[in-house]
Amino acid sequence: MPFHFKFIWLPLLLCLLGSTFAMATGEVNLYSARKEKLIKPLLDRFTEQTGIQVNLVTGKADALLQRLQSEGRNSPADLLITTDAGRLHRAKEAGVTQPVHSEILTSTVPSSFRDPEGHWFGLSLRARPILYVKGKVDPAQLSSYEALTDPKWKGKICIRSSGNIYNQSLMASMMAANGATATEQWAKVFVKQFARPPKGGDRDQIKAAAAGICDIAIANTYYLAGMLTSNDSAQRYAAEQLAVFWPNQQGRGAHVNISGAALTKAARHKENAIMLLEFLVNESSQAWYAEANGEYPVRSDVQPGDLLKAWGEFKVDRLNLGQLGELNPGAVRLMDRAGWK
């Protein structure tokens, strides 16, 4: 097979060359756990306005964090973007981030959504309320996450598996509020309320509720928003069967997580990176998040889109989200013990 040999070197050469193009100045390098589709439009706008080129690698947060760690001080990444606070906290613990001192960031991002020392900042809020099937559930019967263990909801709740970070964060927030022991007691009852063994993603829980498998689904609001604006009539129909109930409004508030960003310790384009962070919390970017992603703006002076407004205003759990990272391993163990698949 001699013909193979001639062609090998060409792609290899191309590969080596491929690595050098992210080295020019006037740029900023991102490791992003936020999917390209959900951040690229904003980054393009940033490049348009500032002329700063944004280079992007997307991936899973933990793997990106591992990459950052092993690359050490030579890492090309300037910013790490994740879709939950726990991973940002973990990055800080791993010592791969550095504090940012920016008047703009500290004044626009509420203190519970950023690291006290400035290692990370929230960019948008991801709320995880209770969704119920209209007509089947009287919202007056609902009150809090804790009250979902009431016998009247037995076999009526759909929620995805405990392997998912959203559920882990929710449990961590409950541990922070009620303590580990009480939360474990609660979880042991809660898993018995499930209509079926956990499977699928958040959209699947919404679909299942609409199809009559359960009356209550727990899902992040942007999935509901995504379904309501979908091209697929079946998804729109399913989503229209459900309404949002904001739990724990008498108490600590509904559970939220953030998408957020941290400046890496190895950052070589520090100024550009901070400029990008500040850009991401400005009013028009925040409005875009709310409009395009169905997430809530992190700053209270920016209104969410019409769709989100229709679900009403709600009280947010003001727990400092760094706690979610600290409590996460405990939350997973607790769910293991409770038999939450």
Partner: protein, 558 residues
Amino acid sequence: MQTVENESAWSRPSIRMNAWRIGVPLIALLLSVPVLVVLSYLFEPAGEVWQHLVDTVLQDYVINSLLLMVGVAMGVLLVGVSTAWLTSMCQFPGRSLFEWALLLPMAIPAYIIAYTYTGLFDFAGPVQTLLRDWTGWGYGDYWFPEIRSIEGAALMLSLVLYPYVYLLSRAAFLGQSICVLDVSRSLGNGPWRTFFMVALPLARPAIVAGLSLALMETLADYGTVQYFGVSTFTTGIFRTWYGLNNAAAAAQLSAMLLLAVFALIILEKGSRRQARYHHTTQRHQALTRFQLNPRQSLMAFLICSGALLFGFILPAGQLLWWALTTAEESLDSRFLSLISHSLLLAGAASILALLLALFLSYGKRRRGSWPATIAVRVAGMGYAIPGTVIAIGVMIPFAAFDNALDEWMRLQFGWSTGLLLSGTLVALIFAYLVRFLAVSLQTVEAGLGKIRPTMDEVARSMDTGPGEIVRRVHMPMLKGSLMTALLLVFVDILKELPATLILRPFNYNTLAVRAYELASDERLADASYAALTIVVVGILPVILLSRTITRSRHAKST
């Protein structure tokens, strides 16, 4: 697989010999590094997290993984071997179409088929909705197979993995000397007896090679089982790593997985230690296929079309439907760059993997020293480890090397080299080689195993040099296996996700990355474009390969 007994002719002290003696273990060792990195965590203390795992979830992980493997093994053997036998040895309408079409399911990533089947057959999907509309039933009024279950996961994986068994066992059936089969028939054995008594045992190494590939891929699967909510060893690894934030325990789980696979391989090898599978004659005659009667033809047609329908037409049709009706994605220049990136990576890495597999398996065949054998085995283990874990195993040594070099250069010359290899396509292609070497290695070895050492000896006795033997004796016989190896790896890399995701350079996307990003965001319809393109790009080599195999068979029948 086969040690040449008379080594003296090969052992001329020359540079060439040293290249084999040193090169084989060296390359094998290099490719083993990521696996060894994972294994090295065995010695890292993981704390009391193990007690927690044993107390709560470990049992589930083990049992579910075993059940899944048993299910997939049954599925791929049943479908793969039967269709291979039918298309290579029997004559029935549609046979020449099935010959290549049966390979198509391998172009569909397992998690994508899982999504499409869920979309079709889930409670909220069109099939069950239609059923309820017709009958007026509600939830709980009727029984319907639950697609998102461990049985469902085994089915999904079987549907996309049976082509491994099909491909390898078909090549084996085609390569079998007709004389052997004729002898069987002349002894009064019918097609069934010939199949079970002669053809099947003779094809065993190839079938086992295909099966072990399918099972290794099953063990490494994350997307399907995670979506179906089945807790397996792989989901456990990620849960321990991400959720419990314990990388050491996660790597130890991976290492356990590796040891289990290693034990399986040794066991299989041991069980056929005495048997040799070379053919005693090269006298092939034009293949006379069993002519099936109409009833048998119908059965054969149904079996083959069933595999094709459920493995390809249904999921691809669902993807096409999504792409046409609901997707928001459009074909722009960015999309074209996804295609070219995917092609470049898959092309370069599959060719490299083939060359390495050839080099290593020849090295083993010629000088089967045990360190080389073990190193080659270890290098081939990467296939059973979840892609993300392998990617980390690549990332750590590459970054360590880069940083050490950088440190040294700074100290010596005050000049920083930064990250030389990390974050480049070199690291990524290396990861592909580690992950998919098993595929090319198994296929090439299965092909080499059929070539009798006596043929080499005869050629040598006629004063033919080693290079000449390879070129003129082995290559014509190996051609089918080599093409198979090339194609399998090519398609595997097209589909590969976790390593691509984490090791790729900035702004470098592939079809698989795009499909995954949208699918994992639960936007299946939008993912359909990229997923379909993977399928289309994968089909072309599938057809080419099938033609080559068929031709190589004809060429041999003189």
